[in-house]
């Protein structure tokens, strides 16, 4: 075996931080190499060095045993390196073939015009060679996310890439699409291509990779063969301490209904119906999970329930009271806590310190406010209690919220929301972008709250999370609940199909034809 790419002692500094610290990364030709690490571990920075987006402060980039200096991505592409970013860089109204060849189109008439036929033919050839099922004439906006990702891969291959870098390629995919992607990996490596993919998901790394390199705080803390390691070992490498991966959950002991939504329909800013007649009920002491691919109406549903968006129709009740018309503030005061999806925009005021942020949502309630006057002493005690109990670091109530790491920001939000002693909690992606250690802690806290009798509505696109924590699990697709299932009995395939908009077993209760994207996608295999 030969080494396709060798990053030798790469150090990359940014003002105030060392993003990569003497990282050594040899990648064998024809293998899949996973780059695993928590957010901020320096994975993407390292790959940007390889792709010529950054130049390393120290160290060497060796491709095919020749030391290279990449000033721009163009140099990297010329050396046979292609990168597929997490967010695709495709032109929506253009066809697959046009996108693949964009910038290096085949020419005719002495270079005067684009040879569309030749472009289509080259894309077809590539598809045949690597077993892709991608229609060259389809427009990007008409194909599914999974197909778009394949177009990005084709773009890299068309430009002669031998080594493909994929940044968090599975983040936007359904479980089935993830499987398809990993099959593509196999096909590509069979033909001698080399793949490096960035992920923070242990399971994916173990499943799809031949070798796994773990980065922590910018350092390579270990490279291990995927078939000789365990999830526990990888988690420990990532976090630096032992981590409990499985949530230990006692069976739920549900009580009375604490929250109910009846026939909620929501339109977005453009007037398009994004939530269609959804009803749900959450009882005391239970977790109702909502799974689904992002963008299927979960955000709008949650905003309607929490009072941040007016639904077109529907009734909401909290502890028996009709709260459909209640303002956001009244809902908070009635005992509704909400861990929002977007902690940077909603959950915290980045320019406020933690004392001020601890007040958010309670700024009109005693003891923090009496007759319109704030008590900063009470607010400070409150913030310090949250910091203490939820292990927020650094433990400094005067720190600006924006200066905290994502995990600590999230812990502070969770602490603040739970400190209200809520009856009903809406938690949306409570651990997104949060390191494994904090994830474990937040999960424990959510279940603890459930066991104390609160109703929990958990929305997450991470299947492990919703399956592990929920007592009942609803799967949302295209603004509707496809089904409510028992998370202990349902298989990942079944959930995956529901997430893609197909009811398992060929039962299709929905008379309406489903929008093409999701279905084309599910049926693609």
């Amino acid at each position: 075996m030969t080494t396709a790419v060798h990053l030798d002692g790469i150090t990359k500094r940014f003002p105030g931080v060392v993003a990569n610290d003497d990282v050594d990364l040899p990648v064998e030709r024809g293998t899949v190499h996973a780059l695993l690490g928590e957010n901020g571990a320096g994975k993407t920075t390292l790959m940007n060095v390889l792709y010529g987006l950054y130049s390393a402060d120290e160290g060497r980039v060796i491709v095919d045993d020749v030391e290279r200096h990449f000033d721009t991505p163009r140099d990297a592409i010329d050396a046979g390196i292609g990168m597929i970013h997490q967010h695709f860089m495709l032109v929506d109204p253009m066809t697959v073939a046009e996108n693949v060849t964009l910038g290096s189109e085949p020419r005719k008439w002495g270079g005067l015009a684009v040879d569309r036929d030749a472009a289509t033919r080259s894309v077809e050839d590539l598809c045949d060679r690597y077993g892709f099922d991608v229609p060259p004439e389809a427009r990007i906006e008409d194909v599914s996310v999974g197909v778009q990702q394949r177009v990005e891969i084709l773009k890299a291959l068309y430009r002669g890439a031998d080594t493909l870098i994929l940044d968090e390629p599975t983040a936007v995919l359904t479980p089935q699409e993830v499987e398809d992607l990993f099959e593509v990996f196999d096909e590509l490596t069979d033909q001698g291509k080399t793949i490096i993919f960035i992920t923070h998901k242990l399971g994916e790394a173990m499943h799809a990779a031949d070798e796994i390199t773990v980065l922590r705080d910018g350092q390579n803390v270990g490279t291990v063969p995927a078939d000789e390691t365990t999830r526990e070992q990888l988690a420990e490498l990532m976090v630096g301490r032992e981590v409990l991966l499985e949530v230990e959950k006692t069976p739920a002991d549900p009580g009375d209904e604490v929250f109910a939504a009846d026939g909620v329909t929501v339109r977005d800013e453009r007037g398009i119906e994004v939530v269609s007649d959804v009803s749900l009920s959450v009882r005391e002491g239970e977790v109702l999970g909502i799974a689904g691919v992002d963008g299927n109406g979960q955000s709008e549903l949650v905003e309607a329930l929490t009072g941040l968006r007016d639904p077109t129709s529907g009734r909401l009740s909290l502890a028996g009271d009709d709260v459909s018309e209640h303002s956001r503030r009244r809902r908070i005061e009635a005992g509704m806590a909400y861990i929002p999806e977007d902690r940077h925009e909603q959950g915290l005021v980045m320019d406020f310190d933690l004392v001020e942020n601890g007040l958010l949502g309670s700024q009109h309630s005693p003891p923090y406010a009496r007759r319109g006057r704030l008590s900063w002493n009470d607010a400070r005690r409150h913030a310090e209690a949250i910091i203490d109990e939820y292990d927020v670091r650094p433990p400094n109530a005067d720190a600006r919220a924006g200066s905290l790491s994502g995990g600590n920001q999230q812990k502070f939000i969770v602490g603040r929301e739970f400190a209200r002693d809520p009856r009903f909690v809406v938690a949306m992606h409570p651990t997104r972008g949060v390191d494994i250690g904090s994830t474990e802690f937040i999960h424990e806290q959510l279940l603890g709250l459930r066991d104390r009798g609160a109703g929990v509505l958990l929305v997450s696109s991470q299947l492990d999370e919703v399956r592990g924590l929920s007592d009942r699990l609803a799967v949302m697709h295209d603004g509707e609940f496809m089904a409510v299932v028992d998370p202990a009995e349902v298989t990942e395939e079944e959930i995956g199909l529901l997430m893609a908009g197909e009811r398992p077993g060929g039962v299709d209760e929905d008379a309406e034809p489903e929008p093409s994207t999701a279905q084309a996608d599910g049926g693609e295999r």
Partner: protein, 460 residues
């Protein structure tokens, strides 16, 4: 540095370089880190930066004065450096600009640099001189307009309508006091009529501020546009009303009748011929303190500041965005209305259309103060010094420089001192937008190379 730090910095510094190569990456990165440094600066550092900017602006001003002095023609050189004569003496100009505004407090014999430690203050100098009175009159009004702009700014609203609200408040209070004048005289006029006038000014200024507030809150109308338009409406309607309805019959100029004799702020230690009143200034300081208190120590102030910093977070925290916008614009307008009343009472004793641009100066004062109510006072004082100093340059027979050049020097100082704060505001905005783009990528770092930073700049 935080966990996220690793990825945050590249996210920001990478900028557009990601797509089309690395050209300009370092520049952008450096610009970002300068902005970040400004955003992180402590209050003490910000004061130091402002002082450094002041010194720098004077240094550049000296060069400009010398250059202008070379090109001008004069009978005898005002000063000579290295054997070259210059028509204007920069040091005398700045001496007049700053010390003239204070009434020449420095003893000519006091020269510590040359070992002369005579009494620092000139014999016969008191703080109660006409020049300082001028300075403080300007300061008094500019504190009010500065506060008006600052309150709106804190709520995230750019109130350019302070000028118009000031006109409305000034006119309404004048008319109210004139209407009630027959009922009061002497001391009761001061004790009753003046407070009524201030209240009416605040009320009408507030209502006039509430209009663009409501338009923004309920019809999504951009406040910059509406307030500018309402400025024209205010001054033209005021002109019409005074000329056609409330014209002083005994005057050739367009003005209302004079307010009754008792309607004035008692001058106390200042001469009756001076316009400044310590009492008025104390009143303004109390309002400054009250504004600070409301913003910092009340639930309403918390709502207002949260809306200003992050509207989405405010809504999440149960703030009624529309009500907060209207309320903050009302307060902003009320402060402008008080400014109009104080202007009328302090300076003229009647209302005359065509007020000086105190409302617009208030925008600069507010930016200079970093939109902090407490910072508005020194910022307004700097403005007052520059305005009154310009007059003392003109009236000094020994300094013969064109008034336009004095305007350039003033503008230079304001520009230099305001710019660091202005860039801080931009830096904050860019950070916020950068943060948003970061979150969209799931918090996992520099994925998209053309992310929020660019968008941020486009927005400014």
């Amino acid at each position: 540095m935080s966990d996220d730090g690793n990825d945050t910095t590249p996210d920001g510094s990478q900028g557009n370089g990601g797509i089309d190569g690395t050209d300009g990456t370092d520049w952008r990165g450096r610009g970002r880190s300068v902005l970040d440094r400004l955003v992180e600066a402590s209050v003490f550092e910000r004061v130091l930066i402002s002082l450094a900017a002041l010194v720098l602006s004077i240094a550049i001003g000296v060069v400009i004065i010398l250059a202008a002095g070379r090109t001008a023609t004069c009978e005898s050189a005002a000063t000579t450096y290295f054997g070259v004569g210059f028509c204007y003496d920069p040091f005398r100009v700045y001496d007049r600009l700053f010390l003239g505004a204070l009434g020449n407090p420095i003893n000519p014999l006091f020269d510590p640099l040359h070992g002369q430690f005579a009494a620092p203050f000139r014999e016969g100098w008191t703080p109660f001189n006409p020049r300082l009175a001028d300075t403080m009159t300007e300061t008094t009004i500019l504190v009010l307009t500065g506060l008006s702009v600052a309150v709106a700014f804190k709520a995230g609203i750019f109130n350019i309508g302070t000028q118009g609200q000031m006109v409305v408040g000034g006119l309404a209070s004048t008319l109210a006091m004139l209407a009630l004048a027959p009922l009061f005289s002497g001391v009761t006029a001061t004790l009753v009529l003046l407070p009524i006038g201030l209240l009416v000014g605040a009320l009408f200024g507030g209502l006039y501020g509430a209009i663009p507030g409501a338009l923004k809150a309920y019809a999504d109308a951009n406040e910059v546009i509406t307030t500018i338009m309402l400025n024209f409406v205010a001054s033209l309607v005021a002109l019409y009303l005074v000329r056609e309805q409330f014209q002083d019959p005994d005057s050739f100029s367009t003005k209302t009748n004079d307010l009754p004799a008792g309607v004035e702020f008692p001058k106390l230690v200042y001469a009756p011929s001076d316009e400044f009143s310590v009492l008025a200034f104390v009143f303004v300081l109390l309002l400054t303190g009250a504004t600070y208190y409301v913003l910092r120590y009340t639930s309403f102030g918390y709502d207002l500041r949260t809306s200003g910093l992050q509207p989405d977070a405010a809504e999440y925290g149960g703030v009624d965005a529309a009500k907060t916008i209207v309320a903050s614009m009302t307060i902003s307008g009320a402060l402008a209305g008080v400014a109009g009343t104080v202007y009328v009472v302090l300076l003229y004793g009647y209302f005359q259309p065509g007020l000086p641009a105190y409302g617009f100066d208030g925008i600069t004062v507010s930016i200079l103060a970093g939109n902090n109510p407490l910072g508005v006072v020194p910022a307004a004082f700097l403005f007052g010094v520059l305005k009154s100093g310009a007059i003392s340059i003109q009236t000094d027979p020994n300094v013969d420089i064109p008034i336009q050049l004095v305007g350039v020097l003033r503008g230079l100082i304001i520009l230099f001192v305001a710019m660091p704060e202005f860039f801080r505001l931009i830096g904050k905005r860019a950070n916020d937008l950068g943060g948003r783009s970061r979150d969209r990528t799931g918090g996992s770092g520099p994925v998209r190379s053309d992310g929020g930073v660019l968008g941020g700049e486009g927005d400014e």
